[in-house]
Symmetry: C2
Subunit: 161 residues, 2 copies
Amino acid sequence: MELDRLDRDIIAALVEDARATFADIGHQVGLSASAVKRRVDRLRETGAITGFSARVAPQALGWTTEAYVELFCQGKTKPSDIALAVAKFPEVVGAATITGEADALLHIRATDVRHVERVIERIAAESFVVRTKSSIVLSRLVDAPPGTTVPEPRNGSPAQL
Amino acid sequence: MELDRLDRDIIAALVEDARATFADIGHQVGLSASAVKRRVDRLRETGAITGFSARVAPQALGWTTEAYVELFCQGKTKPSDIALAVAKFPEVVGAATITGEADALLHIRATDVRHVERVIERIAAESFVVRTKSSIVLSRLVDAPPGTTVPEPRNGSPAQL
DNA sequence: GTTGAAAAGAATCGACT
DNA sequence: AGTCGATTCTTTTCAAC
């Protein structure tokens, strides 16, 4: 699907404030409220916008500790095996298979270090897990809302380069 | 600040759909629209809710590639030095100082592998960076909206354990 | 593709329990 | 703390450009 500058500006406005009125967004991007609405409807239908979410301060909810855990798995382990296993844990807020020595990298949020330890223990107990390597987060430096910045897609110059 | 069950249910509803009406949320949690509004206003004032954001499919905007980069820094490097340096790159969507061999872990979103390479090159050029170790993401398994799940804070049993 | 107006619906505020 | 009702603003739809 093709996104023009207007679409990208509208998305940026909605990432900034998902509860902004269509009139407000229209004022920012130079469009009428109904024009904005029709574009937002289209962006949702095509899947560019997948929903709207409150931004929450994790520590306000008790999530004061986070960690990254590298997973080393048995040779025949499929990504879907890992996905299925880690999906059981609400503490796993991110997971991806990666290149390099480790097979996967997990991002964990927990209430304290002891809690992190318990979660890692349970994940390490999965049959396909050979070993894990954990790093506790000391301080978070950047936590961008996904999609805050918008590159020129495919053609033209990539963002900030 | 104290969050009761109602506050946590309201937050969960807003993480699910930030554009839900106060009446809808009230119906879900058993409260009137104005009671919900007053609690949401308070949650925003106290900082538990920091804003509302559209969820965007990164690939729809051209962010088709992601990577994690470990940063090894000189002895006297301060976290704020790293924060300042990486904040210049919109491609760096996450960053944290961590325990272990590396000093920091960066999460990068880019348009393609070549783009990732260019960003790493520029970050590696920072004076305090000794070396980097990169992992390209092969497939994303979990990408939870931050704060989707809500633990019992401090007291009681932590989430799912 | 766009705009503008009218009807339905939601947010907001005050008074009250 | 909570609800209810009135006013104002927004969303939504539709006709027209």
